[in-house]
Subunit: 276 residues, 2 copies
């Protein structure tokens, strides 16, 4: 998918919502647990209830890996289901991978060939050759961690180097030499508030993937105030707030209602910016 | 496994070799490819040929993920085979994971409960809450990336902060507040040579996992000169040099011969240090 196609989807749907499919067997409605594949059935219901309200889905791989083989099978079915039924969705493998060059090549193959994801999140610690193999697939994207939404982001990401750059700024600056606005996005946590202004100084035109709205406490209005650019340039993720809005048989309807709330807010923000 | 048990294995086997099971269908002997599970059959032959010469096995997850479900099945069989037949081996999931707290919990469950690995490699970029969930499993280990073996290690790991610490030193210093010498090791690439002296200033007593000897060009003697401590404190990995020593039917015998060469060198180095 190109950035233009993604921006067009955002305008058409009046939404830049990404639904995070962090599907946890301990949290899904109990009536599903006797099904043959409760994880896929839950995902399918959530997807059918939200697909017209969002432009992206983001399964976090940890949730599937923790279930072993049956988790990988459920993920495979989920990706195929979205591809077949909602081909306009941007699919993010939230995997936070990254290894030496010949190994990152294998991860790229896993997510772009074995699974047909559009993008994969990558950790920058190992530098250029750990990121570049992901950038060689036409139409596919790397979403590089820059400033994450968690408390631990304070430990290393703000360390200031000899040139006055903080580590996350160094990542933003260097990574632009590796990829373009057509194959590289960055993760910036919603909880980082006005840091979006600093991020935008480095990457005015790149898409940002923004986790941390909702359960983690990030504020959508603040994210947009500092982070939205003239093409929108944001994919804002919500996982728990939507997936687990209700735990009984009405879970999908309640998930839809939560997604509608977020989409309505996004519509207002897009209008304010005169993007729709 | 405790550090004492691991040190005892090193003394008994006169080896601190870790064999990296980076099994690539494109590189394994062609006569295996018609088997039902060529990846497992290759691993089994390599393991049987090297188990008395090494103290650890380290499958890199990327190689298995790139094969989809059948890769995960081969990995599962491999881990179980080692556990059943060579219970003294230390098993490392080279996965380089790391995510926000509730998600790292899921990864820990994947590698320590679904698979019965002893340890998992973790990337430090997201800080404390991305690492700690792995440290709550008794007898299990985090192996945290500090200074990696690849060219990209130059991009961020050497950035010096306000206090004069380089990023990898900052990782070594901070991580010691999260774990102990009984549940935390660090990755330091063999290609970093005399940087091992700097690493040992911060972590004199922790085990180090050392990739990069062999195909990547690291030197075992230099690693030991600067990195070995009074309990050895090193696990030195070799992957390609051993696995792909030969591509015909003699591959396992040739892998064994390569492993013997490394073990003999290690025996000399352990004697020099009067550890055996």
């Amino acid at each position: 998918m190109t950035s233009q196609e993604l921006s067009a989807n955002i305008q058409r749907k009046k939404s830049f919502l990404c639904v995070g499919l962090d599907t946890d067997p301990k949290k899904i409605p109990s009536h599903l647990l006797t099904n043959e594949d409760p994880i896929f059935d839950f995902n399918k219901a959530i997807i059918d209830a939200t697909a017209d309200l969002c432009v992206a889905y983001k399964p976090n791989l940890a949730f599937y890996e923790s279930l072993g083989i049956k988790g990988w099978l459920a993920l495979d079915k989920t990706v195929k289901y979205i591809r077949q039924n909602y081909p306009d969705q941007f699919l993010i493998a939230d995997a936070k991978r990254g290894d030496i060059g010949n190994t990152s090549e294998m991860y790229a193959r896993a997510f772009f060939s074995q699974f047909n994801f559009d993008s994969v999140t990558v950790a920058p610690y190992m530098g250029e050759d750990s990121v570049k193999p992901f950038l060689t697939y036409p139409g596919k994207w790397v979403i590089l961690l820059a400033l994450t939404s968690n408390r631990g982001s304070q430990d290393f990401q703000f360390a200031t180097d000899e040139t006055g750059l903080r580590l996350f700024e160094n990542v933003l600056a260097k990574a632009q030499q590796w990829g373009t606005t057509e194959n590289l996005m960055f993760v910036v946590g919603a909880t980082q508030g006005n840091m979006f202004a600093d991020v935008r100084k480095f990457v005015p035109n790149h898409f940002l993937l923004v986790p941390g709205v909702g359960a983690q406490g990030g504020d959508l209005y603040e994210v947009c105030k500092y982070g939205m650019n003239s093409q929108c340039g944001l994919l804002v993720n919500s996982s728990r707030q939507i997936l687990y809005a209700e735990s009984d048989i009405s879970f999908a309807k309640c998930a839809r209602n939560e997604a509608i709330k977020v989409q309505k807010d996004m519509e207002i923000l897009l209008r304010r910016k005169e993007l729709i």
